[in-house]
């Protein structure tokens, strides 16, 4: 049962929304890189090697990598940025008091390619609308 944010949470909501916007961009970008890396790893059996013997960037079978394994790095980085994204999602859900379905839906943004870019526009708009509704209610009450 969504009931809207509390007046005292407005500044925290604004802060969280800006964190959310940044994290959705980063997570979305890493998700696309992850997709690319998965295609290479499971489609062609190679990982992306950084600064290896075959040049700045090279495609090398996983076991033969001497340089930095960029594929694994992408995997780890996406994981941690997704944690940040989920954290922002959770805090927004708690403060704006959105429905649980909306929380789950936003969570999907970090795993479905391109979805986070859509949410990056949509979610802050919804958050601002919730704040605006709250402010008009306050005006009416006053």
């Amino acid at each position: 049962m969504p009931i809207g944010p509390r007046p005292e949470d407005v500044s925290r909501i604004r802060r969280t929304v800006s964190i959310y916007k940044v994290s959705s961009y980063i997570t979305g970008t890493f998700l696309l890189l992850l997709l690319l890396m998965m295609v290479f790893r499971y489609g062609f059996g190679v990982d992306i090697e950084l600064l290896g013997p075959y040049g700045f960037l090279a495609l090398t079978p996983k076991d033969l990598i001497d340089g930095i394994n960029l594929s694994t790095l992408i995997l780890i980085a996406h994981g941690w940025f997704y944690v940040l994204y989920l954290g922002a999602d959770f805090v927004m859900w708690r403060l704006i008091r959105w429905s649980f379905t909306k929380f789950l839906l936003i969570a999907l943004g970090g795993v479905i390619p391109f979805l986070s870019f859509y949410f990056e526009r949509r979610v802050p708009k919804d958050a601002m609308a919730a704040i605006a509704t709250l402010e008009t209610q306050e005006k009416v009450a006053a």
Binding site: M1, R94, R97
Partner: protein, 266 residues
Amino acid sequence: MQTQATMWQIARRPRWIGALVLALAIAGGFAALGQWQLSRSFESGAAPDEQTENIVALDAVSTPQQPVPALATGQLVTAEATFVAGDYVVLSDRFNDVNAAPGFWVVGHGITPDGASLAVALGWSATADEAESAVAGLEQSAPDGVLTGRYLPSESPQESDFEAGQRSALAVSELVNLWAQQPAGVHGGYLVTDAAASGLVRIDSPAPLSEVSLNLLNVFYAIEWVVFAGFAIFLWYRLVRDTWEAEGEALRDAELAATPHAPPVE
């Protein structure tokens, strides 16, 4: 006037009991995943060790006059051998049970069908006398034939009072100098027989210790799953509490609307 339901009453509604069952099922699934991660973190290195327990021919793992490959260490093997009379050696300070006093090993000089020499540890005894009488028995009837046992790399010679006939290491390099019959070629390791010679105790030779390497990444993932499982339960609690808060606020709003002279809200 309508009274607000307590959190406990809300939690007992069928909808929220169902949600709790779902949350517990998810938490259970996460816990199972955590357990799987934990078992994965111990698993590495288990597979290669098992192959030492499959009995193979000695020639498949060891070549005379060649170093003993690491894979052959602790391998169960069979080998045909004829023993050379007079070449039995008694080693001292050999433990067969870590809690008991050290005893003696009787080591024979076996010749394989292709003429190579193989040191064979034939058994353990508690006293030197028992070992000597076992050697006397072996001189009478050698345990020739097909032997089964564990193949181990030679030990390093150790400083000992060898002039008094005392030695404690099974060093093939030392044995070749003691044996009366000059070897035509020698296996780099030695065989510990499964069946002790008469008068001796079977030498306890367990499978090599598997190297249990703890995969910390998997341990970390296992902890993560436990946290997720806890979070599934927390979410259920939070959702029940949200419902309770929402109902409470709705009720207060309704009361405010119903009261004609409501005090102004700041």
